[in-house]
């Protein structure tokens, strides 16, 4: 490759820092640029996959060497363990409550804030505020808000003569309470939907208005399809995140009355990192990890499979 610069007296700089202009150096440079990411990929993706699968077939307490036990961890998980099926149920309950509600509320809030009223920016900022606050700060705050005796919720409900609840301490209400705490941060979803809404070209709305379409029609025929790629992304992201929820159950209820909030992630943590001198069961916890992993992959695959049916993607450039 020629190193003479075109059109001029400029001095070429060859091999500056080992990176020159030709195609070969492109490759070198590229790999240098993504080297950290490649290392990260190997160490944090490939290694854990292999190692955790191996561990799930062993009995391992973290101090002595793992002992191979074959599939007995999985057998115990599915047949003997009284905590496993309840934890699956709790996880499913959380996902089924949280994901649809957060998407609906997020979209509703976004549409609400997408209007031209004075003060809409304030509402938007305030709605987003809980997302900005540290997660632990809000979770612990809500734990006390939901205290049945002295918490804010019951205090307000009593003043309004509405029925109160035991919230986190009631087996029936514990999971809805956890989901309520999670929904307080719906502002994040709102912002994303807001951006998506504002990317919808106005000509479409104008054309619809000219055609005399009603608000509902506009929503279903124009808004929803136009934001469907984002909706899909949000469904996938929210579902996988919800399946791995840990902070809220751990801090609010630590498994809750009975097993009502003992989601799989919490069960994994309690088995792998038990406290007060109980012996860790890292092999067993790894088996649970793989169940969760398969679950997540299944959800993503299923959602992706149905995308072509209901999303609209406009591939025209710019």
């Amino acid at each position: 490759m020629s190193t003479v610069s075109r059109g001029g007296l400029r001095r070429t700089r060859r091999n500056r820092g080992g990176m020159s202009r030709n195609a070969g150096s492109d490759v070198k440079a590229a790999y240098l640029f993504i080297a950290p990411a490649i290392i990260g990929f190997t160490v944090f993706v490939v290694y854990p996959l292999i190692r955790s699968f191996y561990l799930s077939l062993t009995k391992y307490n973290g101090l002595t060497d793992p002992v191979f036990v074959g599939l007995s961890n999985f057998r115990r998980l599915f047949t003997v363990d009284p905590a496993f099926w309840p934890s699956l149920r709790a996880t499913a309950y959380l996902v089924l409550l949280y994901v649809p509600l957060s998407l609906i509320l997020g979209l509703a809030l976004a549409m609400f804030c997408n209007q031209r009223f004075a003060g809409v920016r304030l509402v938007r900022t305030l709605a987003y505020l809980p997302v900005v606050l540290p997660a632990i700060a809000t979770i612990t705050l809500w734990k006390f808000i939901m205290n049945p005796q002295v918490g804010l919720l019951n205090t307000i409900l009593e003043r309004l003569h509405l029925p109160t609840s035991l919230w986190l301490q009631s087996p029936a209400m514990s999971m809805p309470s956890v989901v309520l705490v999670m929904l307080w941060g719906v502002g994040g979803t709102m912002i994303i939907f807001l951006a998506a809404l504002q990317a919808v070209p106005n000509e479409l709305y104008e054309a619809a208005r000219v055609d005399g379409a009603g608000a509902w029609s506009v929503f279903v025929r124009i808004t929803l399809p136009m934001i469907s790629p984002i909706m899909l992304l949000q469904v996938i992201l929210q579902t996988t995140a919800a399946l791995q929820t840990f902070n809220q159950p751990k801090i609010l209820t630590n498994g809750g009355p009975g097993f009502s909030t003992n989601v799989l992630m919490l069960s994994i943590y309690n088995n792998g990192f038990p406290n007060l001198g109980r012996i860790p069961q890292l092999g067993y916890a790894s088996a649970q990890v793989w169940v969760l992993f398969i679950l997540i992959i299944a959800v993503i695959a299923l959602t992706a499979k149905f995308t072509s049916l209901w999303t609209y993607s406009d591939n025209t450039p710019d």
Binding site: R6, R10, R13, R16, G17, M19, R21, A29, A30, F33, P36, A37, I38, V43, F44, V45, Y47, S52, L55, G62, F112, Q115, R116, F117, R121, V123, L126, A127, V132, A135, I136, A137, I139, T140, L141, F144, Q149, L152, T155, W184, I191, I192, L194, A195, A196, Q198, A199, P201, N202, Y205, A215, L243, Q244, F246, I251, I268, L282, F293, S313, D314
Partner: protein
């Protein structure tokens, strides 16, 4: 439910100031009132818990458990705001959080931008493969790595240090950022690259002096997201750190409210400190609000390629 017309074909713009006022019709009054009532409700839901937190922070320890609870404190225990943080060792935790977060943010953004640049603008064999691998690794739940990495860190002596929290960021630990970076880089016309190469700049110079300034919204957004992710991280420091003086704020604060041997945690101290705990992210948010909204908007409106 629909936006009013703005300038035609405008690029993605976050919600801006209202246009010139239009003539009001009668039904609009009801709609407007409804909107404001709902807005008030929403604001209340978001803000009242925080106000209540402040009142608890102002109550004395025993007044907190008065039944029926009074909404406003009778004695204003301002000292809680001094004693609480002290009891929780707040300054130390704050310092820990700051260091861990700062390093994580720098590492995460830097390596993501580098990787995104290479994937978007450099031609090399395996370009597509690596991209799909990185994006595919977004599907890997963090929990899969929890136990193997815990054992790994233990065996190399990183247990109870900050390294497990910081080093993954420096090794491209967040594939979402790589994805975002690549998106941004793809949007930059190649002619700029060409011009810089003509000027004789090597890749490194192109990257730092040309590309980075151009993609400022991207890495500012990424910094904010990385900041939030690290500041909020609870499970990882919980697993990897057991010395209380090494804890970041998240673990330190959570452990303060866990009861042990029947002793109730001191909620008034806790709420007072909680307020302080909330301040740094709030400050960051208000300072960089614009970039944040804009950046998230990019996530909301980019085409998938």
């Amino acid at each position: 439910m629909t936006t009013l017309p703005t300038e035609a074909a405008a690029p993605v713009v976050p919600a801006t100031e209202p246009p010139a006022p239009r003539p009001q019709k009668k039904p609009r009054l009801v709609g407007t009132t409804a909107w404001y009532v709902t807005a008030l409700f929403i604001c209340a839901v978001m803000v009242v818990p925080l106000l209540w937190m402040i009142t608890i922070g102002l109550k004395s320890r025993t007044a907190v458990f008065d039944i029926p609870p009074k909404l406003l404190p009778t004695e204003w225990t301002w000292s809680n705001f001094v004693n609480g943080p002290e009891a929780i060792h707040f300054p130390r935790l704050l310092l820990n959080s700051t260091i861990i977060t700062a390093l994580s943010v720098v590492g995460g953004v830097m390596t993501a931008m580098m990787a995104g640049y290479a994937l978007a603008r450099l031609r090399f064999p395996g370009r597509k493969v690596w991209f799909y691998l990185f994006v595919g690794s977004m599907l890997l739940p963090g929990v899969v790595g929890l136990i193997p990495l815990f054992q790994l860190y233990k065996s190399i002596g990183w247990y109870d240090t900050w390294l497990p929290l910081i080093v993954p960021a420096f090794l491209g630990g967040n594939p979402l950022f790589i994805f975002l970076a690549r998106q941004y880089f793809l949007a930059i016309p190649y002619s700029i690259d060409e011009a810089a190469k003509i000027d004789g700049a090597g890749h490194f110079r192109i990257f730092t002096q040309v590309m980075l300034p151009l993609t400022r919204p991207a890495w500012i957004t990424m910094s904010i997201l990385a900041f939030q992710a690290s500041w909020n991280d609870f499970l990882n420091p919980l697993v990897y750190l057991y010395s209380s003086e090494k804890w970041p704020l998240s673990v330190g604060m959570a452990s303060f409210i866990s009861a042990f041997a029947g002793q109730t945690p001191d909620w008034s101290y806790y709420m007072a400190t909680n307020l302080l705990y909330m301040l740094p992210p709030l400050i960051v948010f208000f300072a960089a609000q614009r970039y944040f909204i804009q950046g998230l908007g990019a996530l909301g409106s980019t085409n998938q390629k």
